[in-house]
């Protein structure tokens, strides 16, 4: 059944979009990830303009992160103060990101920039996941215990000024790296439409040494606010948020995630990570092929932006 998307101004197959939302929701439930970094490329592959895909994805991410953030809020497993500093940085990043987005649109380089960013991030993350899980599986087969990761000390971060006490995280660190991390995530949200949890979580753990029990909750807390702000910014600055598309993705995603979470309990950690890594890499390869292969038509036509 075709449904008309009022902002994208095109008709899409409703069940295809619902199915895509459900499939990515299933994966995100299974792997405990946001899924935006898979859904945005999928939307682009299916013919949604990249600008609409990114902005609408930011809107959808609000929905997927809210229920998680609420659960952590109830369990008090998040550091509100740390979260707020991250949000402040995220707001700045998201403003810069929306402005950059508009500039790239006007220059006709947005689609390329989005694809390139996805290739880089998906390639890096997929590759790391594959390596890590391959190593763990190999060690397990050899009968050796899988060593817990022991990060370095990162003393330089503790030497920075403007120190703030984050009670919940039992940290007394400079606000500078926290804000910078927030800015960086805000940029990613605005330009790629992803929540940025895949950067945020490792950065909080390894860089800022935030205790793991508050990491996920704090990350989700920040994602809710930054994706919400980004949605509003995209709606006002670039006009590319399609609520009908977002609703379809949310509906599919919510249902898919429930089954995914169930399936995820039946698989071992390394296998899960290897699977996800493989998936991420294949999306990356597909995007790369599209960039390198000679297009059918060298010319393309689009509306004048900021004319």
């Amino acid at each position: 059944m075709q449904i008309y998307l009022p902002v994208a101004e095109l008709a899409v197959n409703m069940f295809m979009i619902l199915g895509m939302g459900a499939a990515v929701g299933f994966l995100s439930g299974m792997f405990g990830v946001g899924g935006g970094f898979l859904l945005t490329p999928l939307l682009i592959f299916s013919g949604i303009p990249p600008a609409v895909a990114v902005a609408t994805q930011a809107n959808q991410t609000v929905a997927t992160s809210v229920s998680g953030a609420l659960a952590h809020w109830r369990r008090r497993s998040l550091d509100v103060r740390l979260g707020l500093v991250l949000v402040a940085g995220g707001a700045v990043g998201s403003f810069i990101g929306a402005w950059l987005f508009r500039l790239l649109q006007a220059l006709g380089q947005l689609d390329l920039a989005v694809s390139l960013l996805y290739v880089i991030f998906l390639g890096l993350i997929g590759g790391l996941m594959m390596l890590e899980s391959a190593r763990a599986m190999w060690l397990r087969r050899r009968g050796r215990p899988v060593p817990a990761r022991r990060p370095g000390q990162h003393r330089w971060i503790h030497g920075l000024p403007l120190k703030v006490r984050f009670k919940q995280s039992r940290l007394y660190i400079s606000a500078i790296p926290v804000v910078l991390l927030g800015v960086f995530i805000g940029l990613l949200v605005a330009i790629m439409g992803v929540g940025g949890g895949f950067i945020m979580v490792p950065a909080l753990i390894y860089l800022l040494r935030v205790p793991t029990n508050v990491v996920i909750g704090t990350s989700l807390f920040q994602i809710v606010f930054v994706t919400a702000l980004t949605t509003v910014l995209h709606a006002t600055v670039t006009g590319t948020v399609d609520v009908v598309l977002a609703l379809l993705l949310m509906a599919g995603g919510v249902i898919g995630a429930q089954f995914g979470a169930y399936a995820g309990q039946k698989l071992r950690g390394e296998q899960l990570r290897a699977l996800l890594g493989l998936l991420v890499l294949s999306v990356c390869v597909r995007l790369m092929i599209d960039l390198v292969v000679t297009p059918d038509d060298l010319y393309n036509v689009s509306g004048v932006v900021g004319g």
């Binding site: 008309y4 095109l10 509306g303």
Partner: protein, 254 residues
């Protein structure tokens, strides 16, 4: 719709005697096209009669009827991709201001068979005669290629159409055509021009108009997104928060 058509045809047949030798009267099956959530494109029927006054003799070679339809104008950029460091990226571009977002040239005989006089160019009959000139400031080295690409991309989206034998002559002086309107058409005012050629000369013309509008939920969403973007953005966020909260309540596991 058929009854309306018949009624209109009757009215047209009874219309007053023209000053010209030939006169064309035409009608559209609808003057408003509504875009709703299930809109997948539609067709409008245009029909008409060629009337001759009593003194005019019949045309030996019959008539050629051309119907051109133009949608609201838009500003477009055509970009060409070139390989830069192994990657295809947009390089040269040309801006076309005020080009029709939709254009159809439907005719009873190929437009190429009409004498290629200034008339076709002036009335922009046929894709080849469409007035598409890149802005001076963005004029590329090869403007013709960019113009051709614009027409080609638009044609691929079914937004630029040129079809011979799309106008059916029901009788030697009665014609009918279907105007195809795809799902991705722009909203706004559309203009249909009917041109009658006989022996290579333009002998009659008529202009009709229709509107393409979004209605219902789509219209509300679109208008809000356009006129009140801030409100629209906030509404989108509230919707997402509610959806997320609702999902959390329904599927709560702890």
């Amino acid at each position: 719709m058929l009854r309306r058509l018949a009624l209109l045809l009757l009215m047209l047949a009874a219309a007053a005697v023209p000053a010209r030798a030939e006169r064309v009267v035409a009608g559209l099956s609808d003057t408003v096209v509504n875009i709703q959530s299930n809109f997948v494109g539609t067709e409008l029927t245009l029909f008409g009669v060629i009337q001759r006054d009593a003194n005019t003799v019949g045309r030996a070679h019959g008539y050629t009827v051309v119907v051109t339809v133009r949608g609201p104008t838009e500003n477009l950029v055509t970009r060409r991709k070139d390989r830069v460091a192994g990657i295809w990226m947009n390089t040269e571009s040309a801006t076309f201001m005020n080009v029709p977002s939709y254009y159809a040239a439907l005719s009873s005989h190929p437009i190429s068979r009409l004498p290629q006089t200034g008339t076709l160019k002036r009335l922009q009959i046929g894709l080849a005669n469409l007035d598409l000139e890149p802005e001076e400031a963005t004029r590329p080295a090869d403007p013709a290629a960019f113009r051709e690409a614009l027409v080609r991309r638009k044609a691929a989206q079914n937004l630029y159409i040129e079809k011979a034998r799309a106008v059916a002559m029901v009788e030697p002086t009665v014609f009918m055509t279907r105007i195809p309107l795809p799902a991705n058409i722009d909203t706004g005012g559309y203009r249909a021009n009917v041109y009658i050629f006989a022996d290579g000369a333009l002998v009659g013309e008529e202009q009709l108009g229709f509107w393409v509008m979004k209605t219902g939920f789509e219209a509300a969403v679109f208008d809000l997104a356009l006129d009140q973007p801030l409100l629209y953005g906030i509404a989108a966020v509230i919707l997402a928060v509610f959806a997320g909260w609702f999902a959390g309540v329904v599927f709560r596991r702890d």
